[in-house]
């Protein structure tokens, strides 16, 4: 019995090594994270606004929209910010933001400096909505179709490539249907 205790570290390490091996398997891309909620209805939410009106799922129905979870402490969010600005200004993408678990003042100053690409921003102070969506890190971006179903999830900062290859074509397709 006492001996078993001494084998435990080795066993734990072997399990870990198994996970590492799986992580290295070809074709795995740590950047790409599908959502368990794909093609399901987005969780209902109703959030107070950062500046003015709040946002709610049911009010967003009727057209495909993008929901972007962000936080001011998150470096990758700063990284994707210029791209979001471009999406909003040049592509007129209906982009909504959810300020995830952070001080609204900090979010405000972020937007003040870098510009506000969002049509509306909800404050998810305790992270409840994030939890419902399955958000664990920011930034994450969800594409909702006009019936409020989640069609795609982007984890991590959006890149020009992801936007031109996946996001914009999907939005166009959703807008046509």
């Amino acid at each position: 019995m006492r001996r078993a205790l001494f084998i435990l570290p080795l066993l734990l390490f072997l399990v870990l090594a198994g996970y590492f091996t799986l992580a290295l398997r070809p074709g795995r891309n740590p950047q790409e994270l599908p959502s368990a909620l794909i093609d399901k209805e987005a969780p209902a939410f109703q959030l107070p606004g950062l500046n003015g009106d709040g946002i709610a799922r049911d009010a967003l129905r009727g057209q495909p929209v993008l929901i972007n979870f962000f936080a001011s402490w998150c470096l990758p969010c700063h990284e994707e910010h210029p791209l979001l600005m471009r999406l909003a200004e040049q592509e007129h993408v209906p982009l909504y933001g959810i300020d995830y678990k952070h001080k609204p003042e900090a979010a405000r100053s972020l937007l003040q400096e870098f510009g506000d690409p969002y049509r509306g921003i909800g404050v998810d102070k305790d992270g409840r909505v994030g939890l419902d969506f399955g958000v664990y890190g920011v930034p994450e971006t969800y594409v909702l179709d006009s019936s409020g179903h989640i069609r795609k999830r982007f984890v991590g900062p959006l890149t020009t490539e992801k936007v031109s290859r996946e996001l914009l074509p999907l939005l166009k397709a959703l807008q046509r249907s």
Binding site: F6, L16, P34, L75, S109, Q112, G134, Y136, G137
Partner: protein, 661 residues
């Protein structure tokens, strides 16, 4: 030619390290002294060869030899000399060369200063060092050779990532690597002890200084990284729980546990198999960190070029090093005899608590960091864990340990008197209560956690001072006698006092971040920004040329009550080569608080975004870390390390035995 010389030196170093790995070990097994003696010379030759390779790579960088692919990809002729040199380790291949160079430094030091070690222990330790070196040299030569050429050479290089062109970051990796790699010595000693089946106080005396020295380097390395993030990223943050940061923090946590548990082995001859396990885990976590950072299995803001073949290779190394040592542990550790018994409430008990909490803390960080990986492997959603997770799990876990830091040193070995100890630190309760009240008053019932943090910091700081006063019997005997005691107190005791006090200082610094004041506005030249009672007057913004960048240099006058107290120059630097902008913040500190000013973007009409923070006590975070490392250095200078580890100190000092620490 010189690059080829470096390449050749690396190949030779690999051959020598194989000799170093095999011959002394076989010698120790057969009791063949000449074979055992090979270890020393092999380690020295191997170090010389790796140093040659390092020098060759540095030469290629300093002379901007762009026919070497690695230099072309990471350097540029316009780069200042300091960054040409630091560019050597600003990339994957070069940083691996630095890694084996540091390992060579450790092996050589071990070879030189281990003359009084039993020859078979010495041979085995050097052999394990040789195995580690062989693994990493093979890794460099097969997957990450920095000496590859391309012909014809490019006209100029691609330059170093601008955010890395900073004096703080130039020295951050060498310190960090010395820390990581230094833990290999403890690992080698652990493996050697398992092979021999013998762990005693003399063994602990050897392991402890090495672990302590590595721990000091790692402490400084982590603090430098955090400080760098603070002043260059322009957001005033100093820790982001990023996988790469966590990779350096985990060995630090377990290493801290190790330097405490090795005291118990040394003084009380118990907790042996646990200490061995910690020594193995500490270095293993350094290796796992290397794997996580270089293989690209996790997403991180720190970019290292990743390559799956490298990941596979490091994984193999992990399996051999960690799997091998843990197998040895499973087979041999049960035979290690425990020594002295102790009651739960005793110095040993407090150190066990410290070990348990630090290990749990490390496990928490580990789970948080690897969570995405675990979930992904079982087909769950891919995700990552951020700030909130760590703040809610790791921080509360550390609270009981910080409380124990105040009490533990006052308990005696074997069986302590908790009540007596609690009574002796009454000053600390008063200090904690006052700190809480002051913080509470200052914030009018603001952030509860921060107020609590101040209480903890004051508690620990006061208890440390009380413990010191207790030792020298301050106010209980004539002052002259107390002073005499203070002078004769062992350095190790002072080391502990400093290290624990440093921890208290850092905790105060962490807690104070809840009281940061932030101001951000668009300002025109001649305009003002107000923050925390200061007026920041933007006098003008000028465009100045730098060596490899163009700077928008702001002149900001800091005023208080309309009197100018300082003029500072925050800058925005544009690096045309990389098309990247970095921010050079201006920080005005009085050691009690920082005034942090960053210049944001400007537009054609002369508006500038200016961001300013008033950050109370933030410098204490790094001051505390420096005090902690200083405590480690003081402890290292203790007499008992110099009198020779293989001998037990038999003389006891009249005033104090070095029993305390």
């Amino acid at each position: 030619m010189i690059a080829e010389l470096g390449h050749f030196a690396l190949i030779l170093a690999l051959c020598v390290s194989l000799v170093q790995a095999v011959v002394p070990l076989a010698g120790a097994a057969r009791g063949n002294l000449p074979w055992m003696a090979v270890g020393r010379n092999a380690a020295l030759v191997q170090f010389a060869l790796v140093a040659l390779a390092m020098a060759a790579l540095m030469h290629a960088y300093v002379t901007s030899d762009f026919s070497v692919i690695n230099v072309a990809e990471n350097s540029h002729t316009d780069k200042p000399l300091l960054y040409k040199i630091s560019g050597v380790w600003g990339n994957h291949e070069g940083s691996m060369v630095l890694w084996v160079f540091m390992l060579g430094v450790c092996s050589a030091a071990l070879a030189l200063f281990s003359g009084n070690l039993p020859p078979d222990l010495r041979a085995r330790v050097l052999s394990v060092q040789g195995m580690i070196a062989a693994g990493f040299l093979l890794f460099i030569l097969l997957t990450s050779n920095p000496f590859l050429r391309s012909w014809p050479p490019v006209l100029n290089g691609r330059g170093l990532n601008p955010v890395l062109q900073d004096p703080g970051l130039a020295f951050h990796p060498p310190f960090l690597y010395l820390g990581y790699v230094g833990f290999s010595v403890g690992f080698a000693f652990a493996v050697a002890a398992l092979i021999e089946g013998k762990v005693d106080a003399a063994w602990a005396r050897w392991v402890r200084p090495w672990t302590l020295a590595s721990w000091c380097f790692l402490t400084i390395g982590i603090a430098m990284g955090s400080w760098w993030a603070y002043y260059t990223l322009g957001w005033g943050g100093w820790w982001f729980w990023d996988p790469v940061e966590n990779a350096s923090f985990m060995p630090w946590l377990v290493g801290t546990a190790l330097i405490h548990s090795s005291i118990v082995v040394e003084k009380r001859d118990t907790m042996k198999s646990w200490t061995i396990l910690l020594a193995i885990i500490t270095f293993s976590l350094s290796l796992v960190g290397t794997f996580l950072v270089r293989s690209g299995v996790l997403t991180s803001v720190h970019a290292f070029a990743t390559d799956p073949s490298r990941g596979t290779f490091i994984l193999l190394l992990l399996l051999l090093a960690i799997g091998g040592s843990l197998t040895l542990y499973a087979v041999r550790a049960p035979a290690l005899k425990g020594g002295g018994l102790f009651a739960p409430i005793s110095r040993e008990g407090a150190l066990v608590l410290n070990n348990l909490i630090l290990s749990c803390g490390c496990a928490t960080v580990f789970l948080g960091t690897l969570y995405p990986l675990f979930l992904d492997a079982v087909g769950g959603p891919k995700l990552s864990v951020g700030f909130p997770f760590f703040n809610r799990t790791f921080v509360p876990l550390m609270v009981p340990m910080i409380v124990a830091v105040g009490i533990g040193p006052l308990l005696s070995w074997k069986r302590g008197d908790l009540l007596g100890a609690l009574q002796r630190v009454w000053v600390a309760y008063v200090a904690a209560a006052v700190a809480v009240l002051v913080a509470f008053y200052g914030t009018h019932g603001g952030p509860v956690l921060a107020v609590f943090g101040f209480g903890l910091a004051a508690w620990t700081g006061a208890a440390v001072v009380v413990e010191w006063a207790d030792r020298i019997r301050l106010f209980r005997m004539p002052l002259a006698d107390s002073m005499r005691r203070a002078i004769h107190l062992p350095r190790a005791a002072y080391g502990m006092t400093f290290a624990h006090f440093g921890l208290a200082v850092s905790i105060a610094g962490f807690s104070a971040s809840a009281f940061d004041v932030e101001a951000i506005e668009t300002v025109r030249a001649g305009g003002d920004l107000h923050v925390a009672g200061y007026t920041l007057h933007l006098a003008d913004v000028r465009r100045l040329p730098g060596p490899n960048y163009i700077a928008d240099d702001a002149t900001v006058e800091i005023k208080r009550d309309s009197e100018t107290i300082a003029v500072v120059h925050p800058e925005r630097r544009f690096f045309p080569l990389q098309q990247q902008t970095t921010s050079d913040t201006a920080i005005r500190t009085n050691l009690l608080s920082d005034l942090y000013i960053a210049l944001g973007e400007g537009d054609q009409s002369g508006n500038w975004t200016m961001r300013a923070y008033w950050k109370p006590l933030v410098p204490w975070i790094w001051i505390g870390a420096v005090i902690m490392a200083f405590g480690g250095v003081v402890s290292l200078s203790d007499r008992r390390w110099r009198v020779g580890a293989a001998m037990r100190a038999r003389r006891s000092l009249p005033v104090m035995q070095p029993a305390a620490e």
